[in-house]
Point group: C2
């Protein structure tokens, strides 16, 4: 059955973006279906199963009858455990009142925007960045103002000028994805403090997207919510997806000031009643049970990171930082593209995919190029591909590049 | 941590409604915590566990590694199974393209509104009815126009005048919850045809909330989508919640014209990425496996329905239809309230709760009273309370009423 009407959809739909990375998946899958070997570096997903103790805990709960509705804030035990866990790692006082469970990390983005942004308000967000930021801001009538990154001595740094140049009296919110996807940058304490100062001075509320907070190979993560005077103006996007390899469970939380969390919970009532009941017991086991699972996830990812960085840097015309965080690399491929005669991202990406089976996203899957942007970047995810396939795939890319 | 700012929240939040029935739950729970015996007739939930074969199938899928993302449309197997199942029961041609899996039944409401309603558009919706309709319409800038019900010879009927009086050139959508919650009314074929004619004549798109489509004790349900020319202008809210006792799983689907389903799926990408992956295999088992589970749910509910109707009708000042559908009754308690000296719903509800432990929702939990409305109604759900407790509770109410 199809619809007969013509301009059926509401006007706002024209402002709704998407994750264009899905079309890369579709293209890779279509190619794989013809029998071609594909090296899936485009996936922001893990090819690592959720730790068994988490699965078992969820199904113990289902078998014990936790199959009816729970509170639209989530189960109290999980909210308490998160308040304690995040309170400790962030060194901020959190209680159950600061936590609303969500069906994933992503719902915190739309609910943050709906709760705090009036139509016409301006919102600063990272670009290249998670494309849903811009989409939700524009969809709900705000003005999305992108800030960028520059190459620093050891990793990308936030282009601070691109923030300050766009600040004005209508700027209301700032989205900050430290342990950034896709550049895999991490703010220095100085950079984070500068952003916090700016948020305080201009009375901005900050969405701290901390999806990758625990995905790191050395050192310790710091949250902007931990800086002085920031907890009361920061909403944390928390997700179980990456740390516990639970992407397909759709389980996360909005953590922040009670007034905002209460508003987000009221959106929960309206949008989905509550998050799946019994899977929350799985997450509780993740937080309180054997930590071997998340440790093993990092131990699986680390050698992949080491190898992909090493191999990419051996290719002429590619240079790549060695990030301590996330499971992405974001190499500069300007030289390679020039050498092979490509000026357009999509033509380059498609040619590499079709010639080598190596599938990746480009900078364009994370937002439009900013004014004056000349360097070219692509994103390789190493979360959904095994070490031997990384080697094989990047070696094929290297051959192609020669 | 609490927020310091004053009028922190966006203006639209003032238009966001809620399910005030949750406050009845909170009140009942608080009373239960003091040791008082409570008879929970307020819950729209089932105290029946999900059939074991469904739980087992979901768990098998999780153990088989279905713990990563799936398509934002849902897994193809479940979409196909739903297209076949609903296509057959509705006698309309459906394919996988007409189905987008959702984290519950409720998400279809907001996504229908966001996809099809422009600010200022008028939307007809039932009142008394599910309070989220009005909330989502107003929240996203529409005008919610309630239509009511009148007492007919054997059950409630839609007050057709209240629809036609409000129709105008700005009316764009109509929400229709046949097998209505709370009145437990079911449209006659004539009534449904009249609504369909009106939708066609005024070019309205219909949301058919079919949450209770399979909750019936005799006869067969008919969908407005099955009437001539209606499939192309009807979006079906499908949910696994009631039929399979899966309320806490949060699993449903939006079923309708491809153009709308594609738009809803794009909202899925933006709002929650996808619905939990492995639980979709549980639902697949529900649709294709042993039908003993859903049958046993109906067999459990039927004697509860028979008994509560019988007992309520023995109370002076209460009259109650015997609905063949849903798991609610919506008795007229005008006489009882008058006899006991109550003119206000909340005072009456609280007094009964505190005197007898019998907890129920009133008409006000399903919308504001309509102009000229004089009769008083309350809603008893018998889905969350066992037969012996129904008898004990309603007998206590009868004693109180004497």
């Amino acid at each position: 059955m199809t619809s007969t009407a013509h301009s059926l959809l509401a006007e706002r739909i024209a402002r709704l973006g998407s994750e264009t990375a899905f079309s890369v998946s579709a293209e890779a899958n279509a190619l794989a279906a013809t029998g071609r070997k594909i090296y899936p570096f485009h996936l922001g997903d893990l090819n690592i199963k959720t730790p068994q103790n988490i699965i078992d805990a969820a199904f113990r709960a289902a078998n014990a009858g936790k199959t009816g509705y729970c509170s639209y804030y989530g189960i109290p035990q999980l909210r308490e455990a998160l308040a304690e866990d995040v309170g400790r790692s962030h060194q901020i006082p959190l209680t159950i009142d600061n936590v609303a469970i969500q069906p994933g990390g992503k719902p915190s983005i739309s609910k943050f925007v709906l709760s705090l942004m009036n139509p016409g308000d301006e919102v600063l967000y990272p670009n290249p960045g998670y494309p849903i930021y811009e989409s939700q801001i524009e969809f709900h009538g705000g003005k999305a103002r992108p800030y960028g990154f520059v190459e620093g001595p050891r990793n990308f740094e936030i282009d601070f000028d691109s923030i300050t140049q766009q600040l004005n009296s209508r700027t209301r919110l700032l989205i900050y994805n430290n342990l950034h996807n896709p550049p895999s940058a991490e703010s220095s304490l100085e950079e984070m403090e500068a952003i916090a100062q700016l948020a305080i001075r201009h009375d901005l509320i900050v969405l701290a997207d901390e999806a990758y907070f625990d995905i790191r190979y050395s050192g310790t993560s710091t949250s902007i919510a931990s800086l002085p005077e920031m907890a009361q103006r920061t909403v944390i996007l928390y997700t179980f997806s990456k740390k516990f390899a639970m992407t397909g469970w759709r389980l996360g939380a909005t953590i922040g000031p009670k007034e905002i969390v209460d508003c987000v919970a009221k959106l929960n009532v309206n949008d989905e009643s509550c998050t799946n009941h019994f899977i929350q017991y799985g997450a509780l086991e993740g937080l309180q049970g054997d930590p071997a699972g998340p440790r093993s996830i990092i131990d699986t990812l680390r050698p992949r990171r080491d190898r992909i960085v090493e191999l990419l840097n051996q290719i002429e015309g590619i240079r790549c930082y060695r990030p301590e965080v996330t499971f992405y690399v974001f190499p500069n491929v300007t030289g390679l593209m020039q050498r092979k005669g490509f000026s357009q991202y999509e033509a380059f990406r498609r040619k590499v995919l079709h010639d080598t089976g190596v599938s990746f996203c480009t900078r364009l899957h994370f937002g439009r190029e900013l004014p004056g942007e000349t360097e070219k970047y692509v994103r390789f995810a190493y979360s959904g591909i095994d070490l031997d396939q990384i080697e094989e795939g990047i070696n094929r890319l290297a051959e192609w590049a020669r």
